[in-house]
């Protein structure tokens, strides 16, 4: 069964540095998403992406965040200047086009900001 894959599984970065989290969505999916889960808290929506543009974003997704589909297979989340509170598990998800298509999640990238 096709899967969403995320790399790396764990990223350690110094505060203030830029970080890029990478995702390969399922190949026939056209909607892509990023979520994050701070330790002990709920999974929170960050952004959705379709047709090379952001379709929806939360208030968490401020100017320090950006997303990109640099080629036909990857989907990335960039955090420009990381803060301690960015430490979290970041999940990528993808879904087919359609109003009732379920989102399929990757295993996540654990981001630790020092």
């Amino acid at each position: 069964e096709p899967e969403v894959t995320q790399t790396p599984s764990h990223q350690v970065t110094q505060m203030g540095q830029e970080v890029i989290l990478r995702c390969v969505p399922i190949s026939n999916h056209l909607y892509f998403y990023w979520y994050r889960q701070i330790l002990g808290q709920k999974v929170e929506f960050l952004v959705s992406f379709y047709n090379n543009e952001i379709s929806e974003k939360s208030e968490i997704f401020d100017d320090q965040f950006s997303v990109e589909r640099p080629d036909g297979s990857n989907f990335t989340l960039k955090i420009r200047s990381t803060k301690l509170e960015d430490s979290a598990m970041y999940f990528c998800a993808s879904s087919r086009v359609g109003v009732n298509q379920p989102q399929h999640f990757g295993d996540g990238t654990r981001l630790s900001i020092l």
């Binding site: 709920k42 999974v43 929806e56 879904s95 086009v97 109003v99 379920p102 999640f105």
Partner: protein
């Protein structure tokens, strides 16, 4: 806006016992409802979903859930649990008829099955 409340943060249960994980939601629009499971060090896996039709939905691994519109609930049940069901379970909603829209999650319920 939508919100999801999972009423129990932890549910300990013995193997082969029945279990119910509770979920209530609030929304100003119609929603789809989902349960996801997260095993240790893994991502979120879809257990089951309610989109429309029969209010009792069956999912993978013997789980089922019942949508109750009047009580705005979507409780997850399994008649007999296994050790391997030990995991974090998340209830989630999304707005109907909006493709690519956000999933709104509850805080999760940790199910611990012991022998």
């Amino acid at each position: 806006a939508q919100s999801v409340t999972q009423l129990d943060s932890q549910v300990p249960v013995f193997e082969e016992a029945p279990v119910e994980l509770r979920c209530n939601y609030s929304s100003s629009v119609s929603v789809y409802l989902f349960w996801y499971v997260q095993y240790p060090n893994q991502g979120l896996q879809l257990l089951l979903k309610y989109l429309s039709g029969s209010t009792l939905v069956k999912g993978i691994n013997g789980f089922e859930a019942e949508f109750n519109k009047s009580q705005t609930s979507f409780h997850l049940r399994k008649p007999s649990v296994h050790i391997s069901d030990t995991a974090e379970y998340f209830c989630a909603v999304s707005a109907v008829n909006q493709a690519g829209t956000a999933l709104i999650f509850g805080k999760g319920t940790t199910l611990s099955v012991s022998s």
